[in-house]
Amino acid sequence: MVTTAPLVGQSVKRKEDPRLLTGNGRYLDDIRLPNTHHMAVRRSPYGHANILSIDTEAAANLPGVVGVFTAEDLKDSVKPLPCGMPAGGVENHLPPHRVLAQDRVRYVGDAVAFVVANDPYIAHDAMELIDVQYQELPAVVDAARAVEPGAPQLHDEAPGNICMHWTAGNKDDTDAAFANAEVVVKHHIYNQRLIPNPLETRGTLANYDAGTEETTLWVTSQLPHVHKILLSAFVLDIPEHKLRLIAPEIGGAFGSKIFLYADMALTAWASKHLGVPVKFVETRMENYVATQHGRDQTQDIELAARRDGTMLGLRVKSLANLGAYPSTIAPGVVTALFGRMVSGAYRIPAIWVEVDGVYTNTAMVDAYRGAGRPEATYLVERMVDLLADELAMDPVDVRRKNFIPPDAFPYTPPDLGMLPYDSGNYAVTLDRALNHVNYSALRAQQEEGRKAGRLMGIGISSYVEVCGLAPSSWIQKQGWGGPMYESAEIRVLPTGKISAVTGSLSHGQGHETTFAQIVADEFGVGMGDVEIKYGDTAGAPFGMGTYGSRSLAVGGTALQKSAQKIKEKILAIGANLLEVAPEDVEFDHGSVSVKGAPGSSKTLAEIAFAAWLNTGVPAGMEAGLEATTYYDPPSCTFPFGTHICVVDVDPDTGHVDIIRYVAVDDVGPVVNPMIVDGQLEGGIAQGIGQALFEGAVYDKFGYLLTGSMIDYAVPRASYLPNFELDRTVTPSPISAFGSKGVGEAGTIASTPAVANAVVDALSHLGIRDLQMPITPQRVWHALQQPK
């Protein structure tokens, strides 16, 4: 009998890479169907305007154009895009989000009309020939201004531009805590708007088959099953069993491919209407104006404490800019995933959070890598540093004093409505990170350097986040109208090869590898014998997709459960074939053998063959060898860690140079360390992007000033340091392997670490805060202010 080392825990090279390295990945725009036509969308150049007239004649007359359509053409067959996650437990004002604007446009990028032509260049030419007359209206882009009396109003259905007012926590206890406080620190934060920037933009290819009356949509989607049900049940005139969605290779998403977009409905409608395949692929500039943005919260925060640094109470008031219409899950994200996480890694006895969701004349805002948790973590980590500064304490000591202690888990933040934090040992990650940077020596260096005019800063961020998003019962209370389990269907094929279909969906995370490691170990076979599939709704169990760092914790557990079900049957069939009782056999390394007589055995292939040919299946048992699981976990998982950033600030130019970046994360046991590190590195880079470089800016008319990659600073290789990674391992009691989730941790942790470092570098000059992105210009201006 061969013994193979378990694959789980090893840095196995990715199965998906050879195709991606040779140009054989099939992304949306790479799919070629005969006679494919191309769609181009005419978008509003105004932030807010009435549509006076639309003249499509010149466009329609261009040779190659097969159709030009406006809201009028669709009004009987395409309904508005629904919001699937209003804020839980409160009244939400959800004005319709039409796939083409009717009478009025509400942001630059709002779709007004579209063209279908036999060539993409012609489609764009024709789109520009559509003559739209507008009457411009006053616009409002800033959430704080949008709620002022007299502000331009976007929707009759949402008076005062308010989507909802939501609260969490205990107001009376919090008021009492503030009344008894020895020190109160107040702060205002604008957590700026970001543009997600997956390298692949979004798109849809629709094909209506007149023979089968089935519509197939290839969509850049993180959750094709959910998109299918939303489109069929709420938007399109296509019954669910006649609609198939396929997510092909996805070139990154970071949340932006979760949401329902107009082009999905427009291409589906046009393909059926015109009888040709219709493809739409965004240009990058379209992606900037019309694909959902992230963050954009304006926050007022107060922290009450004792003079010894003990935190007593936290008050948070946030205005969440939702953009022009309610996006698919936006109101739920800015409440549940933000407001219920504001206390971070700390035991704060009294908390009160208020969130107002606000409509403005800007692109819609929804979940972007971290989704609510970066905004929560940034505020609490900045507040800790401000408190330390106020009390002249070391920020390390303030963190240590207030950490939820290891013996307090499972820990539920008081009255906040969050699920219990599953497990943790926060001080250990802090200590390790401090050791890595040699903290006390660094502080001494800083002190020394300051005498010579050197501006060196050390920033710490100790985060905790909620991952493995589930269970259905909890998330439904937060407003989500669907389930939150994950499915896994495993089939051991007649020759013993294994095909596993997961309801989650890789868009760069490497599911084909990590999930194959799990399945291969369960059955004691090699990676090469396992195929992981996902992304096609045809014939696959309903699945929830990938976001919220949930694939492994929820989807991986589902896979393991299906494998266990199949293994019971393998034992039964194996025993039957070996003519012994099931108790007398064991399954190990891909074969069933009689206990104590390893020579007497049947291989997985022999058993699978018997199972499918129905030769040797015990009486009363069905043929076949497969199992499906819908795993709905009892709770979420809570990864944590400490990141430390060390910066040098150039006193003359304000330029920030990251000289060390140390991350000690605890995401539970890891299946593939190489992939986990990759997730962290990419996540940290995105978080640094927010701290130092990125920010979407609108002018007061609603025009996006950062409208292309020239104006919006996606970090480049030379902007970023080498990251030094380490981890501790605290298993979660919730998931199969104790894994917690890692997709968003880096992004959540790094932004405050960097901001704290830059502020720390300048703190001796009396500088208490800098607004993100902390550009050289902002630093330089702060340095010029008289103190």
Partner: protein, 164 residues
């Protein structure tokens, strides 16, 4: 009005009638069906479309197909020889230099250009050379490691990295 262009792509000769405004990247993708070369921006910022043209890396979204007339193009599809991955491809695989893979073809071609000019680059030199290529997934650390891996490999086995 169309023009006839003749060029070699990955060692094969092509002659096509194209519109003068057709971008080289669209020619490669839509006329020749070589979809490994990607498009990720409209302002020459991202580098996803990078190919080798007459031995140097160019952004194929910033060149017209007619400008490539008579030239020699190499795309990611032409990087492996006889089914054997180029050391750069191998390096990206070994070092996990890709996640979603969308930036990867452009990264490979820009890295190839770098290693032709500088066979033993430092991490800083690699980061500088890849300034024109955006990756949103990896944070670049493993891309730097991948290029270093390939440089070592090509030094050890010089024949492995010859770009013909």
């Amino acid at each position: 009005m169309t023009r006839i262009i003749t060029l070699r792509v990955n060692g094969k000769s092509y002659e096509n009638e194209v519109s003068p405004r057709l971008l080289l990247v669209h020619y490669l993708r839509d006329v020749l069906g070589l979809t490994g070369t990607h498009i990720a921006c409209d302002t020459s910022q991202c580098g996803a479309c990078t190919v080798m043209f007459n031995g140097e890396s160019v952004k194929s979204c910033t060149m017209l197909a007619v400008q490539a007339d008579g030239g020699e193009v190499k795309t990611v599809e032409g990087l492996a020889t006889n089914g054997k991955l180029h050391p750069l491809q191998q390096g990206f695989w070994e070092k996990h230099g890709l996640q979603c893979g969308f930036c990867t073809p452009g990264m490979l071609m820009s890295s190839l250009n770098l290693l032709q000019r500088n066979p033993d680059p430092t991490p800083d030199e690699i980061r500088h050379a890849l300034e024109g290529n955006l990756c949103r997934c990896t944070g670049y650390q493993n891309i730097v490691a991948a290029v270093q891996w390939a440089a070592q490999e090509m030094k050890a086995k010089p024949a492995a990295g010859v770009a013909e």
